[in-house]
């Protein structure tokens, strides 16, 4: 029975568990329950990826209504791959959260944190798996509403304004997607993505379809914080509790990137979006500006969480750049970076959260002398930071390698050079923190009270991610295989979609 409903499980399990965590109240049992729920979801998404890699596409009719009438869940290698990353990160973050939120969230709100976290996970999984355009909007809102709540849970009052700003921007983005979906529905009378794809062909140059596409792309761009629509992200990540920042930075924007890829490749045709509308040029320019502007902004920040937040915006630029190259390798680079960036940013935010746990501040001054006081945490930060820079034998290098290869494949030498130059900026912003940690004397106040290493429950997930950074930087077979399968599948998808539709007719 489980086999049969496998596709729905990663959504259903956290969705059902969420209210239960709320009822359970605040106890370590709630934490255990939430974590094991997330681990279960992770286990099933691993199965889904295995199934997708061996059997190809899995289609699951929700409630027994066959597509295109009912809501369809479609699992392919692409979304199963991202799903695995999301649910793994969620589990690790929950393990980490137990101690971390003690210092950052009021005790009365702990069970709320777990509830919102699981809802967010359910929403994100739903966004990934659904094959229905409107359903995607609903899951998007489920995850977003949970996210706003998560951000606002921190004890610093600035998190409230950050959450509010995020809410306004997020709602505008979601509404844009809604408008776009509405326009598509107007022209085609269907909401199933596959069905949409086959029917859009007919109206290829219709103004309504193009407007709908514009709305959807702008809406998703807000969600994925594509420069210059990223303004909500830095405050939200800065003031949210560290566990939340770690989770959001490594998953939420990635899922939005996937949604972008999904719409472009499976709903609107690749040729239409990129060859007739020339979206690739727009995206490419924005991505490169994002890389440089955000990396530069990251350099001049003093709050380390803000540094990492701007770095995220820059890294999203890399993902969009890969997408905008319109090639299998480019798309592959995007997928690999989605996965790899989750590993690096997760570890970095966890390390910063650990510093907050002990020092009570994440200003760069607070990092002074921590190399001696918290050696394991800072070692984790250093390795993950090197990964962001793209040093060989870390995952960052793999991402960069594929991205530059993709650019060079099409003789974009300038872009290849710019990508590498962008990583030099990462050297600076990561280097500042590392230098403070290892080569500066601790401040007066810090020197007196002896700062210890954080509890092992925080260290373990952090180091799991750090080791994953190294492991997947050396043994790339899993990531490249899945990403390659995903991107090749997406590129031939348009034809597949049409042939399938003829069978249904």
């Amino acid at each position: 029975m489980l086999e049969q409903h496998l596709a729905a499980l990663p959504i259903l399990i956290p969705l059902l568990a969420a209210p239960i965590t709320f009822i359970l109240g605040r106890s370590w049992f709630t934490w255990l329950f939430a974590t094991s729920t997330s681990a279960l979801a992770c286990f099933f998404s691993w199965h889904l990826l295995a199934a997708a890699l061996s059997d190809g596409v899995l289609s699951y009719a929700l409630g027994g209504w066959p597509p295109p009438w009912g809501i369809e869940l479609r699992v392919d290698t692409a979304n199963a791959f991202v799903l695995l990353a999301v649910s793994t990160l969620s589990t690790l973050v929950l393990v980490y959260a137990k101690d971390s939120i003690e210092k950052e969230i009021e005790a009365s709100k702990h069970s709320l944190f777990y509830t919102a976290h699981l809802l967010c996970l359910a929403g994100l999984s739903g966004m990934l798996l659904t094959g229905d355009a409107f359903n995607l909007f609903v899951f998007l809102e489920v995850s977003s509403l949970a996210t706003y709540t998560l951000v606002s849970l921190a004890s610093d009052r600035r998190c409230l304004t950050a959450a509010f700003r995020y809410l306004v921007m997020g709602t505008i983005g979601a509404t844009f997607i809604l408008i776009g979906v509405g326009m598509l529905y107007m022209m085609t009378g269907t909401l199933n993505m596959l069905d949409l794809a086959s029917r859009i062909d007919v109206y290829e140059s219709s103004r309504t379809i193009n407007t709908g596409m514009a709305f959807i792309i702008v809406g998703v761009s807000i969600k994925l914080a594509l420069f210059p629509l990223h303004m909500w992200l830095p405050p939200a990540y800065t003031y949210a509790p560290s566990a939340v920042s770690a989770f959001l930075a490594s998953t939420a924007t990635k899922v939005a990137v996937y949604v972008m890829i999904r719409f472009i490749f499976t709903v609107f045709e690749v040729e239409h979006v990129f060859e007739e509308m020339r979206m690739d040029l727009i995206l490419m320019v924005l991505a490169i500006v994002a890389i440089f502007k955000s990396s530069y902004t990251a350099i001049v920040q003093s709050n380390v969480k803000t540094v990492l937040a701007y770095s995220s915006v820059a890294q999203i630029g890399y993902m969009i750049l890969g997408l905008s190259l319109v090639s299998v390798t480019g798309l592959m680079a995007s997928f690999i970076h989605i996965f790899n960036h989750a590993l690096m940013k997760g570890a970095l935010f966890m390390a910063v959260g650990a510093v907050f746990y002990r020092v009570g501040s994440v200003d760069i001054k607070a990092f002074r002398g921590l190399g001696k006081q918290m050696p394991l945490t800072m070692a984790a930060f250093t390795i993950a930071g090197l990964s962001i820079i793209g040093v060989p034998l870390t995952v960052g290098f793999i991402s960069k390698w594929y991205l530059v290869t993709a650019a060079l494949e099409q003789n974009h030498w300038v872009i290849a050079a710019l990508v590498l130059a962008g990583s030099l900026l990462a050297v600076v912003y990561i280097g500042r923190v590392i230098e403070a940690a290892y080569f500066q004397e601790p401040t007066e106040s810090q020197a007196h009270n002896k700062i210890k290493e954080v509890p092992w429950l925080m260290l373990t997930p952090m180091w799991v991610l750090v080791l994953a950074n190294i492991y997947f930087g050396v043994d790339t077979s899993l990531t490249t295989e899945a990403a390659n399968a995903a991107s090749e599948w997406l590129f031939q998808n348009t034809e597949m979609a049409t042939t399938r539709q003829e069978v249904i007719k």
């Binding site: 090197l386 820079i389 793209g390 040093v391 060989p392 034998l393 793999i398 960069k400 390698w401 530059v404 290869t405 060079l408 494949e409 030498w413 290849a416 050079a417 590498l420 130059a421 990583s423 030099l424 050297v427 280097g431 230098e435 080569f439 050396v474 043994d475 790339t476 077979s477 490249t480």
Partner: protein
């Protein structure tokens, strides 16, 4: 003779990389007991040298040694392969590691340095990555361990932990990392996208089907991307790295790290571009002249430096460009000269650095102006210094003679008289900035007193340091009289030979 007879030849490569790594681990474990820790360093170094000797033996026997470790990208793996040039470099580095370890023990204790465990650990790590660079089987492996080397030496540069060390470390890491990511990685990826392979092949992987302009661009990217070769204007890191303790400056910044840079350039020139292809590129000449300019300019800068280590650093910058120039001359003799220079410059320069460190420990002097009359106090050190200096200048009977000899012949063969002139002028400059130091130390006295000299006046550095610098200065002699094994090794490199081809232009003219 050969201790490693029973080991599978290919496994020796793994061993040569693993042994220093294990050494590093043991150093950490025994950090609390300094004597044991130092013993481990020495034993590791000796074992490593014996392994490299065994590899050399197999190389002469024509044994094919290669291993593939892991496939990083489809069709691209981290692999190691033994070839003569790498063996030469490995021999030099592993031999000098033993000597430097002996020296370092004396220096670190004499100088009361902090964090000695970290020091010896990072040292072993650096050597491990140097071994990996020596035996790298493709450009990807070379690049990866090039970066590892940069990171493992960073804690050594900033060892002192004071502001100057941090500033030096920042410049060091900044330049090396920036150039390698911005230029070298781009060049590696460009090569990969052009040819679909990154393997080192005799005769190069490029052929006439590739666009000459792009290849020319790649050459420039490679030359500047390998920041460790310290071609101007990216040479600033080397003087900055001199804040490190002297053993580091001696082994890493006169031998291992900088030589890893020029070794990479040589390897790329010989095995990626191929000497024939190189001749047809427009940028070869440009880079050649930039190299020549680096030789002369840094010699001039060296003259203005009063700090002994700074002067030696600029001298190193200058000498490195000899090798770069030798590689870019694209003649087989010049390449041989360049390869030989890796070895001869190494023994010469390490002697000089050893002396500088000895002077610092024994008499706490850093500046050359204070060293007048020092020959009376430290006669052994100063004699060694003179030997090293003569070797660097390239006068017989010191090792440096041979490499300069072949480089000059190579320049003549390539018909680049400008380079010949550069080499000659540079030798004069070397004399001007190196020889006065021992001369003033011996023949001038500090306060004008005319007391007869006696052994009682001497105040030499600790014994381990003296042993080390005597051995290396002896090596300068030995390599002059017995350079043949090294030359034989170099002649094994495909396309490179110390034999002058009889059909060259000069023969026709003269």
């Amino acid at each position: 003779m050969n201790l490693w007879q029973n080991v599978e030849p290919s496994q020796l490569i793994t061993l040569s990389i693993l042994v220093p790594l294990i050494g590093a681990l043991l150093v950490i474990l025994t950090g609390k007991i300094p004597n044991l820790r130092e013993a481990i360093t020495l034993v590791t170094a000796t074992i490593l040298f014996s392994i490299v000797l065994a590899i050399t033996d197999f190389t002469f026997q024509g044994e094919d040694m290669h291993i593939q470790v892991i496939e990083l990208f489809p069709g691209l793996d981290i692999s190691f392969e033994v070839e003569p040039l790498g063996v030469l470099f490995a021999l030099v580095a592993s031999f000098l590691w033993i000597i430097t370890s002996i020296y370092a023990i004396g220096y670190m204790r004499g100088h009361n340095e902090q964090n000695q465990t970290r020091f010896f650990c990072c040292f072993a790590l650096a050597i491990s990555s140097v071994m990996a660079i020596c035996f790298s089987g493709n450009l990807l492996t070379l690049f990866i361990f090039y970066e590892v080397l940069t990171f493992s030496t960073y804690p050594l540069v900033t060892h002192a932990g004071n502001d100057a060390a941090k500033k030096g470390g920042r410049i060091y890491l900044g330049i090396l990392l920036s150039t390698s990511i911005a230029f070298l990685l781009l060049a590696v990826l460009g090569t990969y996208s052009l040819t679909g392979t990154l393997d080192f092949r005799a005769g190069g992987i490029f052929d006439d089907s590739h666009n000459k302009v792009i290849l020319g661009g790649l050459l420039v990217l490679f030359c500047y991307g390998i920041g460790k070769a310290a071609i101007m204007p990216f040479h600033r890191w080397l003087p900055a790295a001199m804040v490190a303790p002297t053993p580091v400056s001696a082994l890493l910044h006169a031998v291992a790290v900088v030589k890893a840079g020029v070794f990479s350039i040589l390897k790329i020139v010989i095995y990626i571009f191929g000497l024939e292809e190189l001749k047809t590129l427009a940028t070869t000449d440009i880079m050649l002249y930039i190299g020549a300019a680096t030789i002369l300019l840094s010699s001039c800068i060296a003259m203005t430096k009063d700090n002994l280590k700074a002067r030696l650093a600029y001298s190193t910058v200058s000498q490195l460009s000899y090798i770069v120039v030798g590689a870019l001359l694209a003649s087989s003799v010049a390449s041989a000269g360049a390869a030989l220079h890796i070895a001869t410059h190494a023994v010469g320069k390490i002697t000089l650095f050893f002396c500088a460190g000895a002077i610092m420990v024994a008499s706490h002097k850093k500046n050359i102006s204070e060293m007048v009359g020092l020959g009376r106090k430290m006669p052994i050190t100063m004699v060694a210094f003179a030997i090293g200096a003569i070797s660097i200048i390239g006068l017989p009977p010191m090792a440096g003679t041979w490499s300069k000899w072949y480089l000059t012949i190579g320049a003549l063969e390539a018909d680049k008289l400008f380079i010949v002139a550069t080499l000659m002028v540079s030798s004069l400059l070397n004399i001007a900035y190196l020889l006065p130091i021992p001369i003033k130390a011996f023949f001038n006295t500090s306060s004008g007193e005319q007391k007869p000299w006696s052994w009682a006046d001497t105040k030499e550095a600790p014994l381990p340091m003296l042993i080390a610098l005597s051995v290396t200065s002896l090596a300068c002699f030995v390599l002059f009289f017995y350079p043949q094994p090294l030359i034989d090794l170099i002649n094994l490199i495909p396309g490179v030979s110390t034999e002058v081809e009889m059909t060259n232009n000069l023969n026709g003219d003269g």
